[in-house]
Assembly symmetry: C2
Amino acid sequence: MRFSLGFFPTLRDAPSDAEIESHKLMIRAGLIRRVSSGIYTLLPLGLRVHKKVEDICRRELGISNAQELLMPTLNPAELWQKTGRWDVYGKELMRVKDRHDREFCLGPTHEEVITNLVANEVRSYRDLPLNLFQIQTKFRDEIRPRFGVMRGREFVMKDGYSFDVDDENASKSYENMVAAYERIFKGCGLSFSAVEADSGAIGGSFSHEFMVLANSGEEEISNCESCGYTSNVEKTPVKLTYNDESSNGDVEKVHTPNAHTVEEISELLKVPNSNVLKTLIYKGQKNNYAVLIPGDRKLNEVKLGNITNETGLVLASATLVKELTKAEVGFAGPIGLENVSVIADNSIKGRKNLIAGANETDYHHINVKEGSDFECEAFADLLIAEDGDECPSCNAPLSHQRGIEVGHVFKLGTKYSDSLDATYLDENGETKTIVMGCYGIGIGRTVAAAIEQNHDENGIVWPLPLAPYSVDIIPMNMDDPDCVEIAEKIYDELVHKFNIECVLDDRNERPGVKFNDSDLIGFPFKVIIGKKGLIEKKVEVKSRKTGKVEFVDFDNACQFIADLVSSKVSL
Amino acid sequence: MRFSLGFFPTLRDAPSDAEIESHKLMIRAGLIRRVSSGIYTLLPLGLRVHKKVEDICRRELGISNAQELLMPTLNPAELWQKTGRWDVYGKELMRVKDRHDREFCLGPTHEEVITNLVANEVRSYRDLPLNLFQIQTKFRDEIRPRFGVMRGREFVMKDGYSFDVDDENASKSYENMVAAYERIFKGCGLSFSAVEADSGAIGGSFSHEFMVLANSGEEEISNCESCGYTSNVEKTPVKLTYNDESSNGDVEKVHTPNAHTVEEISELLKVPNSNVLKTLIYKGQKNNYAVLIPGDRKLNEVKLGNITNETGLVLASATLVKELTKAEVGFAGPIGLENVSVIADNSIKGRKNLIAGANETDYHHINVKEGSDFECEAFADLLIAEDGDECPSCNAPLSHQRGIEVGHVFKLGTKYSDSLDATYLDENGETKTIVMGCYGIGIGRTVAAAIEQNHDENGIVWPLPLAPYSVDIIPMNMDDPDCVEIAEKIYDELVHKFNIECVLDDRNERPGVKFNDSDLIGFPFKVIIGKKGLIEKKVEVKSRKTGKVEFVDFDNACQFIADLVSSKVSL
């Protein structure tokens, strides 16, 4: 593509609503333009990168015997009513009525439609397994769309579904897809991690998330360098033991004016944070909860939600805290607390010498012992894993990284096949329920995450497999016929002989403008035809990533570039 | 793909709602499944054919320097309000509100979004021309969805838009796209015609339709074998002259009991149909019309709509006819008719010896002369062209064919750039309005039209470029290890060495079942490994289209098949 013909509208500045680097760079490099909140047009460069990710998905899923189909965006309400998600999904589900007042939603995911399809078509165990996927525009009316295509309201997704005769075969399909996903993200040239994940509201029994590693990532990943264990920190089991000294005496109430926080109380009483019992009051749909954790640790709300079986738990308001504890916020403790369910982290079991709020403003208890001074309804793992915690698999110390979720695989079991009656006849003619898995990759998220992981102060640094074009040919002087001729010749040969995706920057612009645009868009290799090179009959080939330069004879230039692009040589 | 793993659910019978062959065959061959009225899932085979058409579009549009982008489905209402189409489009436009009650439509076409994009990005004449396209799912809430993907409510379309500095350059872009479209439909292996068309409600000044020729087509095409002129019959100019004998006398009222129709009156009075003046009463929004045409011809309602500048003209009800003519239907004539606008076909000018209704039940006038006995407000070309009419270009006789509209190109002028303020600065720094064109191809319609044009009693007969797989390998006896081994070997070599898209029918089914499915799905070539062939070390290669067979040695089979698929040899 000639730059002069390309629709590559680059910008010096990012719009004020762009918060993260990938969003800023996608706007500035002319990859996307905003149409409405969370709704974007993919410009030619942005679409090309999307298509690269899509084609890598198609290639690897095809190898794993998954077949592509395309379901409609308009999903009939009846199917979603059968699974109960018409109500559960709430305002995130965009709904539309047709001219006959029949209701549809704009598919945010397609378990309903595909399960219904398979229920209609599959008769016998001989029709299974099936592994079907689509690459499609999805719709979710996010409360707070942001970060460009990272969290949009309309976005391209690869969603896939497997159908098996039993749980054992469903596990094989799941492993098959985990392997395909690993090939896909490796094929994209990304540094990623497949981590154990909480399966959340989609209702599966087991799941993994695929995270592109980036410091700006929203998610935190526990990682064991020793055994390779990885997990979303929301899911990482934490096992702590505190070896408290023997208690000095009985519970005693002490005056602790204005010591609301763990830090304030530990400083006042000259004890480590770990000796303070943190008591957090949560309000749920079914109950109120006093949650007890060590003062030096953070609560994992996902784990709390799972143990209480509550969705939408929130920290109690100051008013509710006062109503329940008769004290200002900061002085709650388990002793004498009524009308709340007391739940403690496993590490609280058997502890002594604790300091806890006295449920009286400006007072704490000291010498508090679990078991004798207060009792808990339940103990559970309630903590967020931290650096140095024991790996649940090998006990070596864990470390943590940040990542961006780009893919998610779930074992669904029979949740959808039960409600949509997806059954088959087994070898004995008995009716059995199909066992499902589902598998998603956010195509736009992957593109944005690739940028978060691969950029510098000048712009995007595309991994070669995702680059919209591999090579940017830059004639330094468009007024010099020799310079133009060599550039055209290289362009022609790279495109037609070597089948390489090239841009020829044939604009009448200063070299600085061309270099800036090239760095901003992030073409992996520049081929620069300058004055010195013309004299020496050499072109300059420069890597966007390493900044390294090689001068190559005119005659060998195209072969050298082709070798670079096929990674036979590196620069 | 192994048939045993493929999701190819073929059916013996078509559903009762399938009216046309392509719809029946797409269901039966496992290409599509209905989700709701006019809403389908594309199964793997159907999607593969769709992708073939899409990729041919991409290839040819790329050669013509059109660039692909992807606009959102959710179109903000404000843009559609600016062009006035939010109201004009009526119930066909599907509308949705987001969680903040902001209105969007599901894009049925994207003039608004793309013109707004270009208006924001283009500054100068140096940014033009631009030619942008997308391949995307579109939504139109048809009153009567039918014919499967031919007239659905959700369908895949290629829509493109050109932006030029002036009308002359816009014409060049238009011609460039006409040429690309011809390459696209030729590339699909279809017999088609590019015809002049009425530009209708989209509001262009000039347009062509691309018709796939098929006897079942909804559209009629005028065609001149002599000069190559083609046109939608709605648009074909008709020039007729009648050489009436001199009139015998003055107007006279005659009794014509029960002679309501042209045929009845001409038989009663022993005159040719052409001597009867057909008077049709139409009701419009602005006026009522008496439309006069020769008795042997048909009215072209599209031409009538254009000349009266009325949309939604309908034939008057019997009540209205009686009110206006004081007679039953069948006795209307221009003499003495009041309160209607009289419009006549050009050929009525100067005619004499006509027979016309007398506006009195059971009476006609004879010896009627245009000009002296009645006058017309306007003369225009109002007829549907028929076989034998003069070609408007070379006067040779026209013939007619039927076709299915699969593509449409329009010169839009400044209709959208005016309302969305899409301007640029010219060489002199003056602000000018961008001149647009728009270009659409129905991907699903093309697939369905290809089937209408290419099928027989056994199923689909795919043109090679559109076939989901080129070759179907059929081992006749799955219990014979030699048969299976040869089939596997050919499959492996065709796929991996020759890169040919193959199905291996590895099912434990009778040969008849395999042949029937192969014919139904329409794979262009079968490779049959049978008993006799195994003895002679030959495979049977059979063409779906011609039925011709060639026996080829095992060793040469793959090369022969590769030559067939690349059309180096034919069968």
